[in-house]
């Protein structure tokens, strides 16, 4: 199934109460390829979350159009296409555990599938499948979501989205507020789910090491526009450019640049992980 996301000169306003920030996204055009795993990064207020919200009609474009597969979301008559798009796009919000509400974990997980017209039996089967997928025991399904720990709640909330069987998975800082181990587990379960189901995945993050470790592509947002879109390696090639985006470098790349400067050498490749760096160092005979 081809599930690409295409934005065609999309402009969008963001509004909270009486305060309205016009053009939080300004004439953005981009294509996120089917089955790609992309990270969206950028300074606070650059429009990352708005970009995500466009993909399932929680934010509507004031001009331009959003294409999700073959559904087109425009500012006029969005209702039907938005509904279709929401079925395709599973969206995990920041701190998704705050959306849990049902008496049992199972009821919470099947909430989404039922809304999209799945039968209770089917949904329950899927609930069993996804709860294992997110690394929890099946027995937890009968527990109240409010009796779980923070990390478990996060997994349950993500399971609730996965249970909808989306073709596109959109996540807003899935690892925020978790300890390094929990974060790593969440990120790798998302990555493995992505591989297994052949999804198109987009996630927002502030952690460049997440980008380096998990993403294939990066979209850098700056002041409501896309400043860069391409492979992770290209994104982190030029340190000055990264600084201009108000971003950090991944740990390994930062170390690599420092090493190159101090030893006055130039390594042949951009290294994103410590393993890559070690390999390259052995290759050139520095280690």
């Amino acid at each position: 199934m081809v599930m690409q996301i295409r934005l065609d000169t999309v402009t969008a306003d963001y509004r909270v109460g009486p305060i309205r920030s016009p053009k939080i996204l300004n004439a953005v055009s981009t294509t996120v390829k089917s089955k790609s795993f992309s990270a969206v990064v950028g300074h606070t207020g650059s429009g990352k979350s708005s970009l995500l919200k466009l993909t399932n009609g929680l934010l509507l474009p004031t001009s331009g159009q959003v294409e999700i597969g073959d559904h087109i979301i425009k500012s006029e008559n969005p209702k039907k296409s938005v509904k279709a798009a929401r079925k395709k796009v599973g969206m995990v919000f920041q701190f998704p555990e705050s959306q849990l509400f049902a008496e049992t974990v199972e009821k919470d997980i099947i909430f989404g599938p039922l809304n999209f017209g799945m039968s209770v039996e089917e949904a329950k089967v899927i609930a069993k499948e996804v709860i294992v997928q997110v690394g929890l025991e099946v027995s937890i399904l009968k527990k109240s979501p409010f009796s779980l720990s923070g990390g478990q709640k996060r997994r349950v909330a993500i399971a609730g989205i996965l249970a909808m069987n989306p073709d596109i998975l959109v996540l807003d800082e899935p690892g925020a507020g978790l300890d390094p181990k929990g974060k790593k587990e969440i990120m790798s379960l998302i990555r493995s789910w992505h591989e297994e189901k052949g999804l198109t995945t987009i996630f927002v993050t502030h952690d460049m090491d997440d980008v380096a470790l998990y993403a294939d592509e990066v979209i850098v947002m700056e002041k409501g526009s896309i400043a860069f879109q391409g492979t992770v390696r290209d994104a982190f090639r030029d340190a000055d450019r990264v600084r201009n985006w108000h971003l950090e470098l991944p740990e390994a790349r930062r170390f690599q640049l420092k090493l190159e400067k101090e030893k006055a050498v130039s390594l042949p490749r951009v290294c994103l992980t410590l393993n890559e760096l070690a390999d390259v160092l052995i290759e050139v005979g520095l280690a």
């Binding site: 109460g17 989205i161 909808m164």
Partner: protein, 269 residues
Amino acid sequence: MNKLILGRYFPGDSILHQMDARAKLLAGIYFIFVLFIANNWLSYVLLWLFTFFVMRLSGVKFRVYFRGVRPLIWLIIFTVFLQILFTAGGEIYIDWGPITISEFGLINGVYIFSRFVMIIFISTVVTLTTKPIDLTDAINYLLHPLRRLKVPVDEISLMLSISLRFIPNLLDETQKVMDAQRARGTEFGEGSLVQQMKKIVPIFLPLFVSSLNRAEDMANAMEVRGYQSSKPRSSFRRLNWHGRDTIGLLVMVLLTIVLVMLRTEAHVY
């Protein structure tokens, strides 16, 4: 959720923004009583002019005020209708059995409508130009005399200011939870009444949970910093009474005098 104007603060630097919260609160409450002195066309015209003058002074667009009336418009229309239908006297225009529309009824309807809308406008002016925190300080100050009667005034105002402080958070959070449930396929404002009521659970439950958690965090934070309810407290913010506040209250007195003079003795329309 975002349409509620009454109770919101609009930052600005108009003369009303600069006035003391106590003066504004007193004048606002006083205005409601003053309204009832008016009993003829002339006094209502005067009150309308006064209301619009005050609204203009606040420097907030009139459109914002009209938006503030909108949520209450059905209540107002209902009350006005009752007045029109059940007030008798004067010339009768329409007579359908028990339903009559008379001259007095219509006039009364206009008066009631004016009162409602003016009260909303003026109280909106007060809240739009006063920071909630100043407003609670003002309430605290004005409730002071009740301390003699062992009313826990400080606790009441603390509760008030805490709840006011969390309203924006709560609104943000409501928006977030609604978005999250929308993403899970809930469509608000669709389906039968029962279905729509069921859709409230997935919003309210998370909100309750997070509010309770926050209350607990807040209580703990206060306790570790040594908060004790019975101890006397000093205030970080100070209310300052200026000449303009006295003038503001004098204007209200002047308004009262004029209204009393305009008042017609009998209930003449």
